[in-house]
Symmetry: C2
DNA sequence: TAGATTGTTAATCGATTAACAATC
DNA sequence: TAGATTGTTAATCGATTAACAATC
């Protein structure tokens, strides 16, 4: 069965929703929907992609849901993450508390600026980009965050792939190319802002 | 006619694609598609939502496309942007060169940390959150970026809306509520990372 | 004129919503 | 048993792709 990728994002939101519930043991799809901002049918459908977690007439056990959703998302364990590019954005991501909190540990950082090499940021030593392949391989790192200028992005991503990385969160604009078996997710801040100005502009026509 | 929101994001990518072309006067939907990574049919369809920009048998004038796409996206002018929250992420966004380059000027910054108030970052003076309403109103700011901790997000967004802001790019998790007429776009870094771990996890089942 | 390529309509595909039998 | 709510199937909606007449 193929699962819509938007369904996966919603599972993340359902997970946060049930995490926040402290005063109940069981919750209905209707209530999850209300709290997370979707429809009850959508909640049931999304959950049903992954199994039968509920009890007709009663709802979903919150305890079970917490456990199962974590499993689905792969956040029932911790993940080591490498970050490439420790400029403004990279440093901010390195310092971002939210990641650690969700079980993502940025343990490795790389940059090509000689002035930054061997400096320690947030407890992480910045390594030269030349060390990337060896370090990623030796430590079997699965996830990388790319926060380099766009000119460097494709090269860095090629290096990461050659080093055995499996999933990449890329902040550099100009969507780089990667083979099918790599999960490459682009976050392009300018495109997001342009969606806003499109909306503002449109109102004026 | 209602235009898919994914179409707008693609328009941004088409715009970048044609911007990068220097050696031709005219380009076909086929070539745009190839460069931007979509199908020719999709390119023509997306462009057709907004007008007839091409010439059958010849293609699209690159000059015209640059002008028209900019107009569609609302980036044929500069926009003043306010940022709320000048922590790690907020500071990085304030320093991000890409915005300025696309015509987005972050001219106003707000924070509630007394130690930061009146400090200058990237040429922008950090103002107390209490000044938000007055400043946003007086300067008719349309766009705000929210980079505060999630506990504060809803309050900040309510303040922005009350101040007349029209579009918000929100980096705080826990999707806040906003009325229909406000364009609220959420970027949730943890959800993106969870899409990656879902993918990694899935491979193991 | 022949070849190329648009703009648009129709066909397909995929995702969301609605409905309801099964069941606690 | 009656009421509630799931899991799933069918209906609807929306977006993408394919096809092609119009036209440069």
């Amino acid at each position: 069965m193929k699962i819509p990728s938007s369904s996966v994002s919603r599972i993340s939101l359902y997970y946060r929703t049930v995490l926040a519930i402290k005063d109940k043991k069981v919750i209905s799809s209707q209530d999850i929907a209300l709290l997370a901002g979707f429809s009850a049918a959508q909640v049931r459908k999304d959950l049903a992609y992954f199994g039968q977690f509920g009890t007709p007439g009663r709802g979903y056990s919150i305890e079970l849901l917490k456990k199962e959703l974590k499993k689905i998302l792969g956040t029932d364990r911790e993940w080591d993450v490498a970050i490439v590019g420790v400029g403004n954005l990279g440093s901010a991501l390195l310092a971002y508390k939210g990641f650690k909190h969700q079980g993502f540990n940025i343990r490795y950082a790389f940059d090509n600026d000689a002035k930054k090499i061997n400096k320690i940021k947030q407890g992480v030593r910045i390594r030269p980009i030349q060390a990337l392949k060896q370090v990623v391989k030796a430590n079997k790192i699965d996830i990388a965050i790319v926060a380099v200028p766009h000119e460097a992005a494709q090269d860095v991503i090629d290096m990461l792939i050659a080093s055995g990385i499996k999933a990449i969160l890329n902040f550099a604009p100009r969507r780089p190319k990667a083979p099918e078996y790599i999960e490459l997710l682009n976050i392009d801040l300018s495109i997001e802002l342009e969606r806003l100005t499109y909306f503002l502009q449109r109102g004026k026509r």
